[in-house]
Symmetry: C2
Subunit: 198 residues, 2 copies
C-alpha cells in the first residue's frame, strides 16, 4: 500500500502560515519568510525541495487550494498555481461544498471531496497505486490526518524565524508518537524526518 | 564577555511543560515525556545532557525555582533539587518578591533578583567571568531574553511527542532571526543549535 507523507515547513514557533491570509497574501503576514530556503538556497536544499513534489497523489484543505470560503462563488478560481500546477497528478481537495473536478494542464486534476479525510485518503491511495500520497496542508488538514494516525512519515522543515501568530501546526493534535529518523541543517532551514508510530 | 546560551527542551508542538504544573508535577501533565531522552538514552545523548550544566552562572524564572506564587510563604522551599543542586554556581532567580540569598551545598547559591531581566543578566555575567551564562527557563523567561536580544546561542532539543497545552516556548517572541548551525538526531530527541542574530 502507498506510504502517506507530509512535508510542512513551519517557523520555530510552529506556524505554517502567518496571520491575515488573503487572496493577495496566501501565506499571511510574514509567511514568505518560511520559504526563503526554497528560493534563496535552492541548490543547497535541492533534495528537500524535490521531495515536496513528484508523488502519486496529493491531499489538501480547501484553504490551501484558494482563498474562497463557503460556496464556490468564483467559478474561475482554479488554485494558486496557474494553468499548469506543479503536481502533475490527482489532487484531492477537502471541502464541504461539492464541485466538479477541474482538469489542468500537465496532468493535475483537482477533485473535490465532501465526505471526509478518510474518503479523500482512500481515493488518493487508489490514484497513487504504489506511489506516495502527500498530505500538503494547511495546518489543520495535516493535524487531522496526524490525529487520525493516517500519516506514515512527517518531513518537517523548520525555518529559522518566528511568525507569532497564524495557522499553527500540531494545534489540533493531542496524541502523537514520533520516531526521529534524521536531521539536516542548511543555511536557511533545518530538515527533520520522523516516522509516525501508530 | 561571557556568551549567553539557553538549552530548552520542547515538544514538537512547542511546549516546555505540560498543563497543570504543581508542586507534585513540576513539569505539568505529560511533561516528563519531554525528558525521556536524558534518562532512557542517557549515553547516546551524553554531549547534550552535559551541555545543560557546567556553566559559570544561571538565570531562571521563579516558577522554575518552585511552585510558590506571590509572597514567599514557605521559607523552607529551597528549589526542586534537594540539598545539593546540580548547578554548583550562582543561580539568579527572577521574582517580584525579595528574598535573602540561599546558599546550598556544592557551591550553588540562589540569588533573588527583583529589578528585571537585564539586572539579572548583569549580575550573572559578573559572576560567570569568562564562562558561559545559561538562561534555564521556564518558557516565559527564555522568551523575555530572546525578545530582548540577550541570548547568543539557542540549543533547542525537540522531543518527539506532543503535549497539546502548557507553557509554550516562543509564545512571547515577536521578532527573532536565527542562524541554523547544526542538528543531530538521536533515538529520542533532535538537537538543534542556532546562533541568534542581533
Amino acid at each position: 500500500m502507498s506510504t502517506v507523507i507530509s512535508t510542512p515547513t513551519i517557523s520555530v514557533d510552529g506556524y505554517m502560515a502567518g496571520p491575515r491570509q488573503s487572496r493577495e497574501h496566501g501565506l499571511g503576514d510574514g509567511g514568505e519568510r518560511l520559504h526563503r530556503w526554497m528560493f534563496e538556497a535552492a541548490e543547497e536544499n535541492r533534495a528537500e525541495r524535490e521531495a515536496i513534489l513528484g508523488h502519486g497523489a496529493y491531499i489538501m484543505g480547501r484553504n490551501m487550494f484558494g482563498p474562497i470560503r463557503g460556496e464556490w462563488d468564483d467559478p474561475d478560481w482554479r488554485g494558486w498555481w496557474g494553468d499548469e500546477p506543479p503536481y502533475h497528478a490527482p489532487v484531492f481537495v477537502l471541502t464541504h461544498y461539492p464541485r466538479e473536478p477541474i482538469e489542468m494542464a500537465g496532468g493535475t486534476t483537482f477533485h473535490f471531496v465532501t465526505d471526509g479525510i478518510e474518503s479523500a485518503l482512500e481515493q488518493a491511495r487508489a490514484a497513487a497505486g504504489e506511489r506516495t500520497v502527500a498530505v500538503m496542508g494547511g495546518a489543520s488538514t495535516i493535524d487531522q490526518y496526524l490525529q487520525a494516525g493516517l500519516i506514515d512519515e512527517l518531513r518537517l522543515t523548520i525555518a529559522p524565524t518566528v511568525l507569532g501568530d497564524g495557522a499553527r501546526l500540531f494545534a489540533g493534535v493531542t496524541t502523537l508518537d514520533l520516531e526521529p529518523v534524521s536531521s539536516r541543517t542548511t543555511s536557511l532551514a533545518t530538515h527533520l524526518t520522523y516516522r509516525v508510530r501508530s
